[in-house]
Amino acid sequence: MDFYIQVLISGLLLGGIYALISIGLNLIFGVVRILNFAHGELVMLAMYGTFWLYKLYDLDPYLSLVVVLPAMFLFGVVLQRFILQPVLTTSGVMKMFTTVGISILMQNLALILWKGDFRAVQTFYSMSTIKFSGLIISIPRLVAFGAALLSIILLYLFLKYTYVGKALRAIVEDHATARLMGITVERHYLLAFGLGALFSALGGTLMMPFSSVYPTIGGPFTALAFVIVVLGGLGSMGGTFLAGLFIGVIEAFAGTFVSPGLKEAIYFVIFLLVLMVRPQGLFGMGRGTEEIGLK
């Protein structure tokens, strides 16, 4: 029994990280309506940022958040303003391919600047754990889990109770009407993209104590975040969190009891099944999603 609980804990911790990475994508996907293929590259960039701050200035990964988060917010805003905004009026396909271009560009700029080496930071808490009654919980992973939960609560409160948050939600539901209601849609897009990049950066930085970074690390994150956002439902932050946990647990159990090589395949199959049976996502709101491709 202990063994199953241990696997469950590992899965939940993993799911917390997954949720953290996916929040940003949900914001961008939901508000700006762009299928952002460069999402994993945002995570990658933040990870490199954390690594270099650690390497060059001896800055602890958790402290480096102070620098990395604002920097990545700004990066997201710049990306949206100068690269994505000009193509905003074209079709969804064109927007998507712009992000593919950004992804290719970022990946290879990283290769040119920092070479293909995998880099990891080494902190005193990297492998520290809490142990009780035979169960093991990794502390940095627990921190990431806590950060995911906290981010989602904060984001929920922000969306629910502030004016800007309400405007963002209005855009998620129907951006044409939102515009008619006097919401400056483009400016909110900037904010959404910035916030999206910020949350990706949070995920990337909090992963650094137990993970390594290299130029092509982003790809799997992008795919994973899409799976989670769609499962959780567009615009639903709580849904993203639960879907993240769900995928993490599935991955842990499938990996342990079926085969580590097939664990990704299993969650992709579940993703396909959910898409077919309940395309608005397991926890999605189901409103306003028609225009971006749900029947």
Binding site: V93, G101, Q107, N108, I112, A265, L272
Partner: protein, 328 residues
């Protein structure tokens, strides 16, 4: 009389292409041509779905299905790839049917995501099922010369095969576009409900397009497998090479048109090779940086693709040769 001028121009072009292997002894040049033809075929096949407004980023799955079925039948059972073609078509048909389930319910980005997931699942199975596919270690096509085995010493036979495949794919995609199916597809792409109100079975139309596109891609995959000697999941299921690239070609050439994919593939394939060996060896990764910039720029400045730039030229050309045909 005026129509003839176009036909003569086309015929001359075709004749020139047929003569290329006689003129260029370098198999490198032939290889670039062959690769370009494969991509013309792939892009045209991909584009059939795009008529209906559906964007797949999972065509690598059909490509790999065709490649693996053909190669496995040949390597394990000794069945000639020409007969194996039927197996490849059948398998990709089944694959297409599976993917048509999400197609019925999903559109736009969500369908695109489904195609990606579908490919990932197949890729991981191909890696894991080692008794069948040899996993990542790869499957080799033995070097037994002969037309029946699709194995040749010179580059010319495959040049002609790939040329024929490219012409066939473009012809098929053109036929689809101007058939009733094509009109229904385009109607469906522009406005679902209106098309449905006219009595078009929307799902049937989209599924038919998917199946044609999938089987055509599988046929190309089979020939590509025999052209490339080694089969391994990392290459055949490659997102960049066979899912993304056809889509890129089509977008850069002009998506949803007949000739856009051809122009896109003719432009992009040599460009990719060119960038790799002139820039990639100067500084690792530089070629992809340029590639990424070209992509972003094209979408921004020529969203209609290269074809939209050429169309005014084409009109002028037609006026010049006195053709005022109404097929524009």
């Amino acid at each position: 009389m005026k129509k003839y001028t176009l036909w003569i121009a086309g015929g001359l072009g075709a004749l020139l292409l047929l003569l290329v292997p006689l003129y260029f002894k370098s198999t490198f040049v032939l290889h670039i041509y062959t690769l370009t033809f494969f991509y013309i075929g792939l892009t045209a096949a991909w584009n059939i779905m795009a008529y209906g407004g559906n964007l797949s980023l999972g065509h690598a799955s059909f490509f790999a299905i065709g490649a693996y079925v053909g190669a496995l039948l040949y390597v394990k059972l000794g069945i000639s790839p020409w007969i194996g073609l039927t197996g490849a078509v059948a398998a990709s048909f089944v694959g297409g049917m599976i993917l048509s389930m999400p197609l019925i319910r999903l559109r736009g980005p969500f369908f695109t995501l489904a195609t990606i997931a579908f490919t990932e699942v197949l890729r991981l199975i191909a890696i894991d099922w080692r008794d069948l596919t040899h996993g990542s270690a790869g499957l080799n096509i033995p070097f037994d010369l002969g037309w029946l085995n699709l194995t040749f010493k010179s580059g010319a036979p495959f040049y002609y095969i790939a040329l024929a495949l490219a012409v066939g794919s473009v012809w098929l995609s053109r036929w689809v576009r101007y058939s009733a199916l094509g009109y229904h597809l385009r109607a469906a792409a522009s406005d679902d409900q209106a098309a449905e109100a006219l009595g078009v079975d929307f799902n049937l139309v989209q599924i038919t397009a998917l199946l044609i596109s999938a089987t055509l891609t599988a046929v190309l995959g089979l020939f590509y497998a025999f052209y490339s000697y080694v089969l391994e999941p990392a290459t055949l299921f490659s997102f960049e090479l066979f899912s993304l690239q056809p889509a890129l070609n089509a977008i850069i050439g002009g998506m949803g048109t007949v000739w856009g994919p051809v122009i896109g593939a003719v432009f992009m394939t040599p460009l990719g090779e060119f960038l790799r060996f002139y820039l990639g060896t100067i500084q690792q990764g530089l070629n992809y940086v340029v590639y990424g910039i070209i992509l972003i720029m094209t979408v921004r400045f020529f969203p209609g693709g290269i074809l939209s730039l050429l169309t005014p030229l084409g009109v002028r050309f037609k006026r010049w040769i006195g053709d005022t045909g109404d097929n524009q």
